[in-house]
Every structure is written in C-alpha cells, then in structure tokens.
Symmetry: C2
Subunit: 203 residues, 2 copies
DNA sequence: TACCAAATGTGATCGCTGTTCACATACAAT
DNA sequence: ATTGTATGTGAACAGCGATCACATTTGGTA
C-alpha cells in the first residue's frame, strides 16, 4: 500500500477507522478517541468518516461489536486449550474473561457502554448474542447444563462474578496498585471459591 | 430562596452544582451532564463553576464520591432492617446493591468511571474506602469473617457477583427488555445460588 | 472507447463544549 | 469606612461532532 497509495480514495476506510479506534483507545484510552483523531491517523479528512458511519456512536458501536467477537474467540480458545490439556476448563474460561479485561481495558470498557453505543444495532446485537450463547451453553460447555437456551442462576453467577471482578479491576478500587500477576492470583482465588458450586464438565 | 434570592452571590454553589449533576444525570443520563447545563440549571454563568471545581472531572469526582456514600448507607440500612426482621441479612445486602444500581443507573455508572474521575482525589478515595470496609467486614457483617482488614476470596466473590450482575443489567444485554421485578427475581435466584458458600451470620 | 451515475473524499462552516482571564460585585474583618 | 478576599460574569479561545455543496475516482453500460 505504500507505493500504490491512492491520492484520493482510500479503499478500505471503514475498517481502517476501526483500527484507528483500536490504536488510540489502546494507547490513550477510550476518552481520547475522537473522530478527528481517527481521521488524522488514517490520513483522511474528518468529514470522510461520515460516509461510512452515521455518527461517532455508530463507529463506537462497530468497535464494540468487534471487541465482543474477540472476547468470544478468546473464551473459545481458552476452553479448547484447557480441554486439550485435561485441565479445568471452567476455571480456564473464567480466567480468560478476566485476563481479557486486564490486557485490553479500553476494549472491555467499550463493549459495555450503553450510553455511547447503539445497543440495537444488528451487528452489535449479533455479537452480544454470540457471547451470551457461549455462556448459556454451560459456560462455554465447561459445566453441565440442562437448558442451553436460557441462563441458569448458576451460569449467571459465573458470568456476573467474572464480569464484576473484571470491572472492579478495570474501573474500581480493587487491587489498584498491584501487579498483573497479583491480580490474576486474586482472580484465581475467587474463581476457586465458587468452583464447588458447579458440576464437572460433561465430556 | 425565591424572594431572598441574591442577585450576585449564590451562597452554596458547590453543592447546588452537585444537585444539578444529580438531576440532569437522573433525567437525561450521564452523557447529558454538561458544565453549561449544570450552570444554567442553577442559574449561574458557566464560568462560575470553576471557582468551586478545578474542572469538569473534579465535579464528577465529587458526585461519584457522594454516590458511593449513598450506596454505603443503602447497604447499611438493608443490613439493619434485615437483622431487625430476622431475615437473611446477606441476601438483603446483596439485593440492596443490585437494587441501587437499577434504581439509579446514572449514579451507579458515575461511581465507577475511571476515565472521567480523579481516582486519587482524597474524598473519592475516602468514600471508596468506606464502601470497601463495609464489604471487607464480612459483607457488612452478614457473614463470618476472619480478617476484617482484607477481602477474602469469598467476600470478593460476593462483591464481584452483585457488582457484575448490576453492570450486566445496567450496561449489558442481560434481561434487557424485562421489568424491574423480573430483574429482581433473576438477581435473587443468582444470590441464592451462591448462598450455600457462606457461613451464617455471627450475631 | 466514451460516458455517466454512484460511491467516496474534501473544505468550509455551524453550534456546542470545556476552559481561561480580566473584570465586577459582594462579604467579612478591621 | 476601608480593604482584602471570595465569589460571580462576559467575552474569548481551541477542539469537538456534524452538515453540505463540491471534487474526484470508480465501475458498469452503451
């Protein structure tokens, strides 16, 4: 793309803008994500963004959907790897959820911002459904599950607790000055504390 | 204040601005909270706000601290009332946490916004410490606790799960279209699911 | 090949935002 | 009464999201 760079038409602006959001959010935080900054980073005029997204919120919605997919994939990989290793897949999925939030806090924040996202956007809804389906199915299939079409209280407890701890880490006062490995230790202890509530995986 | 309204000096602008944040956030959401809107609501020039708060973030920080105190008080009341009624205080405190988030979503959001708050502000830190201390002490003293100076894995599990469910309700896709009472039922089921993990209250 | 319609990018401009600063006014202590 | 300090004002600034008429490129069709 360096030599073949077109003077006028970018070619793939919609996705490039998403990448710009990604970069800026990772480096400077979500509040630093500005339409103008994204456009500048891509090398395009600010107004160009509106050819591909109705407004800033639509761009952030697309970014959130992308982040949700990443999280879904992360969880799926964690399960596969744990099952291949014969280790506790439930714990692995829980930890993967929390690790994702710690490693990509801006993504994690962006995913769950009702007020800066069009929560009815079809792609966003689809991404949220994909994640929910993962968790409905016995926490990614790591625990026994009678009804994969609904969230059982246990499944919801598992989701809520990892989601809540992730939030407390990222936004809140828990383990604030501590290192990543300390936080992971804290998380592991919490997950093990609830482990007895869940039947072993049915594989 | 109508007749005695002073032409120039407001008298208690700092707190009035906090009330304005409160009103606007409750009515129109946190994103609608604007310095200019707050000033207009109080009947004062926009620049006046800067005599009392260094910047917008400082104002939001003060508001967050206030909201944290409200939550602490809500939890304390729930415990007292449950203990007076001889009902399960642990469950009552858990439910009070979630109810607070459902009834005042803008407050709940404002409390935990690392990026729009000065998390090192002394009042904010004090408020967060107060809440944490509540929960460290055996979840407001509703469950047995060996070491009130640290969060045990169980205590953290309880906090994380109610915090996480509150977030999933307020920001996320869980029980989205459902009524308040349905959500409370879902919450209650989740809390009961983890109840067996906790020793009875020591009173 | 020549042409034209649709898609994509631009620059100027708008209203709103947070913030600053010189200035105006009120209060409190002497 | 005077004076110093606290508090409120109005005009200004740059940066933001957004709009719109216009410029350029692309891709299909004749």
């Amino acid at each position: 793309m360096k030599n073949g760079k077109r003077a006028y038409h970018h070619g793939n602006l919609a996705e490039s803008l998403l990448n710009a959001v990604d970069d800026i959010a990772s480096q400077f935080g979500l509040e630093a994500v500005t339409l103008r900054a994204c456009a500048k980073r891509v090398g395009v005029a600010p107004s160009s963004a509106f050819r591909h997204y109705a407004d800033k919120r639509a761009l952030l919605t697309a970014f959130a959907a992308r982040a949700l997919h990443q999280l879904s994939n992360t969880l799926a990989n964690a399960r596969s790897q744990a099952q291949a290793n014969d280790s506790d897949a439930f714990v692995a999925v829980c930890m993967a959820y929390i690790e994702f939030a710690l490693e990509k806090p801006a993504f994690f924040r962006a995913m769950w911002r009702e007020e800066t996202i069009y929560t009815n956007d079809e792609h966003y809804v689809a991404a949220a459904k994909q994640l929910t389906a993962h968790l409905k199915g016995g926490f990614a299939g790591t625990i026994s599950d009678q009804d994969p079409s609904s969230l059982s209280p246990q499944e919801l407890l598992a989701w809520s607790s990892v989601h809540g701890l992730a939030n407390l880490f990222v936004e809140g006062p828990v383990a604030n000055g501590q290192s990543l490995s300390q936080k992971l230790q804290v998380a592991n202890d919490m997950v093990l504390a609830m482990r007895p509530l869940f039947a072993p995986q049915h594989s």
